[in-house]
Symmetry: C2
Subunit: 388 residues, 2 copies
């Protein structure tokens, strides 16, 4: 564990880290049933039950094959040896708000990560606060590489973190564009953070790990795979306020990242190019399907800046109720909140009929909006705010 | 006059043609006040009053400078000598429906043409029924020229008329693309149809005049001017179901054509290109402002085909009133329509309080919808359709 990651926050208990490391090795992402179980009963209890096989069928399906693989301590040691650490939702550095969208998206493929292996001095929660995903084709043209570098450099220069996948082509140009202005950048891998994949980007990954952050759901030593690249893309989309596709064929991983971004309620942007270039065909398709066409850094900033602002301060006009912007789950939880006595999260789950994990996510949202107050882990409406 | 233009329709009286030719020479387009006067009292009476100076101040402002220029017969003769003819709203070949939008747009710059000088075998009303304007920069890149030719060829091949301005660059490539597949194309000039402007397009204009139509508001011999290019653009937009901008700088005539198309309720489309090309910057701006991004002929057809269908058959569902789709002016005229006795247009104008020119436009709309029937130039509701 890096001391830097937990400055001012209580340390995360060793048993929690071991449990998260165990689960990270046992379940192949995405593991929605396991994620729900962990949210309900906590990682230590969940890890024990998974290990013992005392779980529901969906969780067993996600964990049965590897439940006896007990490498948590070895994985944590391997991470430390590689200069990496395990980041778990219990850490202050965990990007709680960006990842909250996973739990409420309702899509199986968009299950939240159980933990993240990270390498580098960056603090993930802070990096995600102002972040844009810049992604695109491996077989990028020189035009695409140029645009990825220009736009990423411009974003990084304004303090925005450039999130990408470290692949050959657009991804690499995006990271290099951010590094060129000594700006923040995060590489999300489909293999262990101790591996250099693609090999041609070994030096680039070292540079990212030296100033930003290299991130993966997969434990040290894991190899990349076709399925993992696609599953990884949801994390790239989830860490950023918007996803910018610079070049992409009609069938490409970048299209998947864009689809994930849209499903998570994030902005999708695309850079146009010559119609005669197949590498721009995916971008044009995205624009025809509703993505924002962008040509300059300022246009990206205008869009994601506004989005970021909206997320921070949901606009509430005089004629609207403060609960108007709530999603259906948060609205259910809000309805269940008592006005006087504080109640536990579990009580709210019973009262609202919402799974306890989703209740936790909803409470984060409600707290940001000032619609809930808590005391010793129990909740009620803020003083003076009764039921409608 | 070409016989072909008036097959099966009564000939237009000589005095009407002379009056329209006179007005075409006297007023510099756009002349909205004069257009309204002509719609109200007819071209012969309007021409006489303009000549005598017995007109309102707005009309005098549009006609005072040249009202004593009496070259109608000479202009008609010059046109005939150049193989051209004067097309007036009294001709069956006049594209009444496409131009109806001018009168109701309410924008001064979008006054309808008083008459059109045309050269070629094409029949304008028929050509406008399935037409797309393909326009763009003079300083086109080879990419833009390629795209203009490809898309125009594809449209013409499907029977769509390609309307453009015969300028160097995108316009020329658009006309050539249509001619290459022996498809219909219309060139709208900012000078007399007897002139070859630009000179480099003399052969191209001859080819268009040989199979399609060369059109202008300006009488024979008129020279082009900066103002006339902009004013001319509204006719290009007005003749087509949609305007496709292939390449354009941020400040360009093509942007004006696109703005006119939008104001006339027509579809605006743009072809993307490299962000690094200033000639695509105007297209990208248009898409960001709501224009449809298109990359292939099929995408254009899908959009304008649907629009054309909508124009031809306004959808009326069972739960709607047949008058639901009417604009405010047409609704006023509809309210004024008697159910039994037929009434004159002038009576409807009095009854509805709508200027007689706008009443005429509204009646065209109402007739298309089956909401009016006429007899000897007088109007009433169709049998059995009473007031609401």
């Amino acid at each position: 564990m890096s001391d830097q990651a937990s400055v001012g926050a209580p340390p995360v208990a060793e048993e929690v880290l071991l449990a998260r490391a165990y689960l990270s090795r046992v379940a192949e992402p995405p593991a929605p049933a396991l994620a729900r179980l962990v949210a309900e009963i906590g990682p230590v209890e969940a890890a024990q039950r998974v290990h013992d096989g005392r779980v529901s069928e969906p969780v067993a399906g996600e964990t049965g094959a590897r439940r006896l693989v007990r490498r948590a301590a070895a994985d944590l040691a391997a991470a430390a040896a590689a200069g990496a650490r395990l980041l778990s939702p219990e850490h202050a550095e965990w990007p709680e708000w960006p990842f909250a969208a996973f739990a409420v998206s309702g899509q199986r493929e968009l299950a939240p990560p159980l933990a993240l292996w990270v390498r580098g001095p960056g603090l993930l929660a802070g990096l995600c606060e102002q972040a844009v995903a810049v992604v695109g084709a491996r077989a990028a043209t020189s035009y695409g590489g140029h645009m990825a570098g220009e736009l990423s450099g411009g974003l990084a220069d304004r303090g925005f973190c450039v999130v990408s996948g470290a692949a050959i082509g657009i991804d690499g140009a995006a990271h290099r564009g951010a590094l060129a202005v000594e700006g923040p950048t995060v590489a999300v891998l489909a293999c262990g953070v101790d591996r250099a994949y693609p090999a041609a980007h070994q030096a680039l990954l070292e540079r990212i790990a030296a100033s930003g952050l290299v991130v993966s759901e997969y434990p040290p030593g894991c190899v990349p795979g076709r399925h993992r690249f696609l599953v990884r893309n949801r994390l790239i989309a989830g860490m950023a306020a918007g996803t910018l596709v610079v070049e992409a064929g009609l069938r490409s991983g970048a299209q998947r990242t864009a689809a994930d971004a849209a499903a998570l309620g994030r902005l999708v942007m695309a850079v146009p190019g010559p119609v005669t270039s197949g590498m721009s065909a995916g971008c044009h398709r995205l624009v025809r399907d509703g993505a924002l066409l962008v040509t300059r850094t300022e246009e990206v900033l205008e869009a994601v800046g506004r989005l970021g602002l909206d997320l921070a301060d949901p606009p509430v006009s005089g004629s609207e109720r403060p609960t108007d912007g709530l999603g259906p789950v948060a609205a259910l939880v809000h309805d269940a909140l008592p006005a006087r006595a504080h109640r536990e999260t579990r009580w709210l789950a019973m009262e609202s009929g919402v799974p306890i994990g989703a209740v936790r996510v909803a409470l984060v949202d409600l707290e940001r909006r000032g619609l809930v107050e808590h005391c010793d882990g129990r909740w009620r409406r803020p003083n003076g705010v009764g039921h409608d």
